[in-house]
């Protein structure tokens, strides 16, 4: 951000663009009234970026929809004002609101796939917005071209005629942003706009938003759960919990000196890319409250490490506690320290230094996900090894083949070429006996705890099913199920409940318990925390670490979140387009990345640290190519910041695939020019 945008914004600060005062929203349901938003006030000046942070059920999306007057039934606004340029939107007629929507305030949604009409050309969708607000038809097309160009879509004359399915996720989100900007709205409400996108694509979109603010002076309300995104992008922030604002203020002040214990805990519970492992994360106990049953007093008190008696009975008001910073907390209001958190346990691990026997060996494995005659190699020659008590982290973006790899290991996808050895047995053919070896040695923890449990079976039934495969049946199975539940930190009496009675984090615990049923030696964790709320992620990560250290399990830990992988992993493999492009210990890979893709990934990850904003970022151009049609030579050359795109003379990248080999400083990477970008990326 340049200094003059900040100045021009601060001049207009006394006349905010949008001011929300005492907003209250409720949802009358058959179980009673759910108060989703309780007395929320905030304001945003022209050209500013306001971050709204909160977990699921905190009321952040409901607030956004209320501003647009587009609450889903049966939601209703019970009180408050939404002042846009001094006019209360809540008093406007529906006709006026239609004019406001799109023209004054526009919205960008989380899922660009769902926000675009699949049956309409993108050009027509942009033009539609323009024509609705009074642009003539022939001008609309010209303007649509300009807009597509402005949001960074290449070759606009051709792409304007395409349908959304011909675009990648990041490109679709750009189109959604173009539609939002079509009528030069002053305020953009972005509801988790990058959550569904990959890290490198997220970096592109965040950069685009910053540029648009600079060029067009558009104000942005950025709704997110990711503290990193807030630190990267926003000027001010509000933190929401249980339908209320618990803290607000300038981003720098809040990050450096949080006044509410929830803000503080959120900041600490996230694993950081620049901190080595070795400590348990200071997790927030419990889970975010159900808006239908908010606790009395301060709604955070049941999870708060510093709560006092008053917190249980009286609700703290949102008060000015530091210059320009407000928080709703009795403890900090009375001068108490909210940063006191229980000291994290220092882990004592012996295994990485003296690793056990290899449990899993994968040698040059290729997996075909296409037809036999037209192969699509989603996994294209991968070798790796997991030993007892050791965690191998696999990092990569969607489409890199990391899930296919794990599904190949457990025999869901057949092995195309190469060899897989599990517990000393060659299981490449995945015959009956082979599969028995695999399932008794390796178990799987899934990403989505809502989909991985059968909704029609009690968790007891799910666990007993897993146990029966291991030969434990009847009464013994019941006893063992209780033990398993208690092992993963759940109440053993809850065996007869159905999955929907559990929160996301609890379901993930059930999923882990089920994986442990057969006493496996190794777990494959496929994005085990990415579907969970931030405060829950730390709990699950801690649980996984405890289990590894107590039971000596080996982990193949697959994730797109580099910070989480760093926290858990001893060794890391970085995947791109079905290949491993870099491999090494976590310290090596994160400390001195040798492959330009690793460097770009590290640099793209938003960090919950305001000072990180200053560092130079490597924002990759374009998207990952399709494995159906991979580029010749190095698979990364089409996006590589040091490859033939920028250095014309580097023809070798297009002709010869680089082998995974030892680089000049002793690490392992697949790049002809390994190590070149390492210096730039080191934080």
């Amino acid at each position: 951000m340049t200094s003059d945008t900040r100045d021009s914004a601060s001049v207009r600060e006394d006349q905010p663009l949008l001011r929300v005062e005492g907003l209250q929203v409720s949802f009358p349901t058959s179980h009673g009234v759910v108060r989703a938003v309780n007395d929320i006030s905030f304001e945003i000046g022209a050209g500013r970026i306001l971050g709204v942070v909160g977990e699921s059920g905190s009321g952040k999306s409901v607030t956004a929809r209320s501003i647009m007057r587009m609450l889903r039934a049966p939601g209703q606004v019970d009180g408050g004002k939404i002042m846009l340029h001094g006019r209360d939107l809540l008093n406007e007629t529906e006709a006026t609101m239609r004019d406001v929507r799109g023209k004054r305030i526009a919205m960008v949604f989380q899922d660009p796939q769902a926000a675009l009409n699949p049956m309409m050309r993108v050009g027509d969708q942009i033009a539609e917005t323009l024509i609705v607000h009074g642009t003539r038809k022939h001008e609309a097309r010209q303007r649509a071209l300009e807009l597509l160009h402005k949001v960074g879509i290449p070759d606009v004359e051709r792409t304007i005629e395409q349908y959304p399915h011909e675009f990648s996720g990041g490109m679709r989100q750009r189109v959604v942003i173009a539609i939002a900007l079509a009528n030069e709205a002053e305020l953009l409400i972005a509801d988790e706009p990058t959550t569904a996108l990959d890290v490198t694509i997220q970096a592109q979109i965040l950069k685009l938003l910053v540029d648009l603010r600079k060029d067009l002076g558009v104000a942005i309300i950025m709704i997110t759960h990711d503290m990193g995104v807030v630190a990267e992008l926003c000027d001010e922030m509000i933190v929401m919990y249980g339908g209320r604002v618990v803290e607000s203020g300038p981003v720098r002040t809040v990050f450096n000196n949080p006044q509410h214990p929830y803000t503080n805990a959120l900041l600490r519970a996230v694993p950081r890319i620049d901190t080595p492992a070795g400590h348990a994360l200071p997790a927030i106990p419990g889970s975010p409250p159900d808006p239908a049953r908010l606790p009395g007093g301060c709604s955070f008190h049941p999870r708060c490490p510093v709560a006092v008696e008053k917190c249980r009975t009286d609700r703290p008001p949102l008060e000015v506690l530091a210059p320009s910073q407000r928080a709703a907390c009795w403890v900090s209001a009375s001068g108490g320290d909210v940063e006191a958190l229980p000291m994290p346990v220092v882990r004592t691990r012996t295994t990485p230094e003296e690793p056990g026997k290899p449990i899993l060996q994968v040698e040059n494995v290729r997996t075909n996900v296409g037809k036999p005659r037209h192969p699509i190699w989603a996994v294209n020659g991968i070798s790796l090894e997991v030993r007892a008590g050791e965690t191998l982290g696999v990092v990569g973006e969607s489409g890199c083949g990391k899930s296919t790899l794990s599904r190949t290991i457990v025999g869901i996808n057949p092995v195309g070429e190469g060899r897989i050895t599990v517990a000393g047995r060659d299981v490449t053919r995945m015959g009956k006996e082979d599969l028995r070896t695999v399932t008794s040695t390796i178990q799987y923890v899934f990403q989505d705890p809502y989909a991985s449990l059968n909704p029609r079976r009690t968790i007891g039934q799910s666990l007993e099913e897993a146990l029966s495969v291991a030969g434990v049946k009847g009464h013994a199975a019941r006893t063992r199920s209780r033990e398993l539940l208690e092992r993963v930190g759940l109440n053993g009496d809850h065996l007869d409940r159905y999955p929907y009675a559990f929160s996301g984090g609890q379901r993930q615990r059930v999923g882990i318990a089920r994986a442990l049923a057969a006493n496996p030696k190794m777990l494959i964790c496929d994005e085990p925390v990415s579907a969970l709320d931030v405060s829950i992620q730390a709990q699950i990560i801690n649980l996984l670490e405890d289990l590894r250290d107590d039971l000596g399990l080996g982990y193949l830990f697959i994730a797109h979140d580099l910070s989480v992988v760093r926290h858990l992993s001893d060794r890391v493999a970085v995947m791109y387009l079905g290949r491993v492009v870099e491999m090494g210990t976590a310290e090596e890979v994160y400390g001195a990345p040798q492959h330009p893709y690793t460097a770009a990934l590290l640099s793209s990850t938003p960090e919950p640290d305001v000072d990180a904003r200053k560092r130079e970022r490597i924002v990759l151009a374009g998207d990952m190519p399709s494995p159906a049609n991979p580029p010749s030579g190095c698979p990364f050359r089409t996006r590589c910041p040091i490859g033939p795109l920028f250095n014309k003379d580097r023809e070798i990248c297009a002709t010869t695939p680089p082998p995974l080999a030892v680089t000049s400083n002793g690490q392992i990477a697949a790049c002809h020019f390994a190590g070149e970008l390492a210096a730039a990326a080191t934080v």
């Binding site: 899934f446 989505d448 991985s452 159905y498």
Partner: protein
């Protein structure tokens, strides 16, 4: 979050919820009354359906509620005996069709090739209009109860086969099915334990629709003379004869039609009630 646990109870009690709403109660009452009347008919009218009176083709009257037929037989009695034939037919045909169709639809999880092959065969069956198909079966097997039963089952199979396959296709990609596979559970066990329960709702609802369909099918085949053969009565056979006397006794066909419509109406309501019960969010 706060829903009742029994929502996912797979026992019959879940479907019995349908009979708690007025619609369901009404449907159940009509079905029970009609079924009882039909199956008690031989006991109440020991003379059977062939007892002839003196007056033929009488209109509706307090004595003969639905009038009499061309041989002076009471049409109400014949309608009840006819209903008995029809209900016997559909009460046998429906469960067979539902079970076989579901099995054919779900087999695709155990063997992909077999599953695809079966679906293509079912597609071919769908290609023929039901009545034409029924006529073909009857022409091959000859008229009579077994032939009628088989043609109804054959015509109904594609519906259930496709419903079950739809459930299979939507569920087999779900992670809990993958989870079961990574646990080392056999495919046939997964079908019974995880896939079948997800198909059952749609199958049960469709089953109620199918009963109406089957009764009409019997009637259609009988009207063209290929259904139940005289002197055994069926609703369709009654309509068939009644049509011939439509100029002399226009009320002849009214009785069987009323019973047919009542049955259809009751089962439609039942479908509706079941549908609301299983899809309640």
């Amino acid at each position: 979050m706060a829903r009742e646990p029994r929502r996912f109870n797979l026992t019959a009690s879940r479907y019995l919820q349908a009979f708690r709403q007025p619609k369901g109660i009404f449907a159940a009452t009509v079905i029970v009354v009609l079924t009882t009347a039909a199956f008690l008919a031989p006991a109440v009218f020991p003379g059977g359906y062939d007892q002839q009176g003196r007056d033929a083709l009488l209109p509706m009257s307090p004595e003969h509620l639905f009038g009499t037929d061309e041989l002076g037989r009471d049409i109400l009695v014949r309608s009840l005996f006819g209903l008995r034939t029809d209900l016997t037919l559909v009460y046998i045909a429906a469960p067979i069709t539902m079970a076989v169709g579901t099995l054919l639809g779900l087999i695709g999880f155990v063997s992909k090739t077999t599953g695809t092959l079966i679906q293509r065969i079912l597609d071919v069956i769908v290609g023929f209009p039901g009545l034409v198909l029924g006529i073909c079966v009857v022409l091959v097997l000859g008229t009579g109860f077994p032939a009628l039963l088989i043609s109804i089952v054959v015509i109904g199979l594609p519906t259930f086969g496709r419903l079950a396959r739809a459930a299979l296709l939507s569920q087999q990609q779900r992670e809990y099915v993958t989870a079961a596979r990574t646990l080392g559970i056999s495919r046939s066990t997964i079908v019974v334990r995880h896939l079948l329960p997800n198909a059952v709702d749609a199958i049960i609802v469709q089953g109620a629709v199918f009963i109406v369909h089957a009764v009409f099918l019997e009637a259609s085949l009988s009207i063209v003379g290929l259904g139940i053969q005289p002197p055994q009565p069926s609703l369709g056979a009654l309509l068939n004869t009644g049509m011939r006397y439509i100029t002399q006794s226009p009320t002849y066909i009214l009785g069987p039609i009323i019973i047919l419509l009542l049955l259809a109406f009751a089962f439609s309501l039942l479908t509706d009630a079941l549908n609301e019960t299983v899809n309640r969010k």
